[in-house]
């Protein structure tokens, strides 16, 4: 999003974060090893799910709730759609990134300042899709098995550590290749929890879903 007096500069640091952020919902399998990620990921051609997003910030008494749906099709298509409180659609289609906002009865293409950097997302998606969790130059990944299976991603660089402390990925035990939740911790009082529901994999998804907002 752009803001007052911020026309010229383009964000640099958020790019890898955005890549991770958008990739989080899918393509993680819990088989206890990095090798398992790649294998489970390659078995997923499409994925669709609903999600609830709970944003906690220190100045709100209760988390801010958002909800929506996402769709993924291998190898490079993603649709990340919010129904509430802001209707928006972020689409990534073979390297082209677009975001739309609903205004009344129409969709408006959003020229967010963050949008250009989202092209970087594709590189991250491809890494993760191939199970290459540890390929990110920006985050150090580690596996935690107790008390619950968890993948921890911690920024490698000091500049990133100022922005985000860690990302916690909780894989589904029931569905290989599927995330149960993602928690992005900016600091101990500011974090985002994404919980996924109704995940369906390998169902045909129309190409138009990733090309047109509706």
């Amino acid at each position: 999003m752009n803001g007052p007096g911020s026309q010229a500069r383009r964000p640099q640091r958020p790019a890898p974060f955005w890549g991770l952020f958008l990739l989080l919902p899918f393509l993680l399998a819990w088989e206890g090893s990095w090798d398992g990620f790649g294998e489970a990921s390659r078995r997923i051609d499409t994925l669709e799910a609903r999600f609830v997003q709970k944003k906690t910030v220190p100045i709100l008494a209760a988390p801010l709730l958002s909800q929506g749906r996402f769709f993924y099709r291998s190898p490079s298509q993603l649709r990340w759609e919010y129904d509430h409180p802001v209707r928006s659609v972020l689409m990534i289609n073979r390297g082209a990134v677009k975001r739309y906002l609903r205004e009344g009865e129409r969709w408006r293409e959003d020229s967010s300042a963050a949008l250009p950097v989202m092209r970087v997302i594709m590189e991250e998606i491809l890494n993760w899709h191939q199970g290459r969790f540890d390929a990110s130059p920006h985050f150090q990944a580690s596996l935690q098995t107790e008390p619950e299976p968890l993948v921890l991603l911690v920024p490698r660089e000091a500049s990133w550590k100022k922005m985000i402390r860690r990302i916690e990925l909780e894989p589904s035990r029931e569905q290989a290749g599927v995330m149960k939740s993602v928690r992005m911790v900016e600091d101990e009082r500011t974090f985002t929890l994404l919980e996924f529901q109704g995940v369906r994999i390998n169902r045909p998804l129309p190409d138009g879903l990733f090309r047109a907002v509706e």
Partner: protein, 225 residues
């Protein structure tokens, strides 16, 4: 009037009308019996107690670029303090400032770290949510006969609050040269008396327009911010 000048008259009238923001802003006389009510009305758009507000926020820049996000504000009008966070729809916090005795920048992801951005945001919040002054304003009628409250600011600038006939309220910030620097338009209020929509327009360079739509609100923590 010479025939050659006649076609210019409409253009001149338009130019004069457009320049109204820099025209003399003298207040016309007002029925003294109405002054106290108008003065009270002029405080209607502003917060009266600590509030937590969540807005959908749209920013429009001079090049036509438009971006949308979510703004969270905890503001205490009694103390004139606030903390505000701007985030993407996806929840990524891009900007976080706190105003207490001084303005503290807690987080600013580019491009929100641009020089002056935090100060402009502070001014926008003050203009839209806080009463312009503690003292009684000057009250009168503007050139169109609408009641106006005029508040003098310590920095020499002035804030006019206009209660329009259609129920909307407009807040205008004028510079020392009487130039209109910013305006805030509040078309309507909810049952709690809070602005449902707010449009903040900066007239100086870099000009921009912010449109806020209230989506959540509650009383702030006991004891203020």
């Amino acid at each position: 009037m010479k025939a050659t000048l006649r076609p210019l008259v409409p253009a001149l009238l338009i130019a004069l009308a457009a320049g109204g923001c820099a025209a003399p802003r003298a207040l016309g006389p007002l029925d003294p019996a109405l002054a106290s009510r108008i003065s009270a009305d002029c405080r209607r758009p502003f917060l009266k107690e600590t509030r937590r507000l969540v807005h959908v926020l749209e920013a429009e820049l001079p090049d036509g670029a438009r971006g949308t996000g979510i703004g969270v504000l905890l503001a205490d009008p009694g103390k004139g303090t606030f903390r505000t966070m701007l985030m993407t729809v996806e929840g990524w916090v891009l900007f976080d400032i706190e105003k207490d005795r001084k303005l503290t920048l807690r987080r600013a992801v580019p491009p929100f770290d641009a020089p002056g951005f935090a100060r402009r945001m502070e001014e926008d919040i003050g203009l839209a949510f806080f009463p312009p002054g503690a003292g009684p304003p000057a009250v009168g009628l503007d050139g169109e006969g609408a009641p106006v409250c005029r508040f003098a600011r310590p920095d020499g600038r002035e804030v006019d609050v206009l209660n329009r006939a259609d129920g909307a309220v407009e807040v205008r910030l004028y510079g020392q040269g009487d130039e209109l620097q910013k305006s805030v338009l509040i078309p309507s209020f909810n049952r709690d008396g809070l602005a449902e929509r707010i449009e903040i327009r900066r007239r100086l360079w870099p000009s921009y327009t912010l449109r806020l739509r209230l989506i959540e609100e509650d009383a702030g923590p006991p004891g203020g911010q």
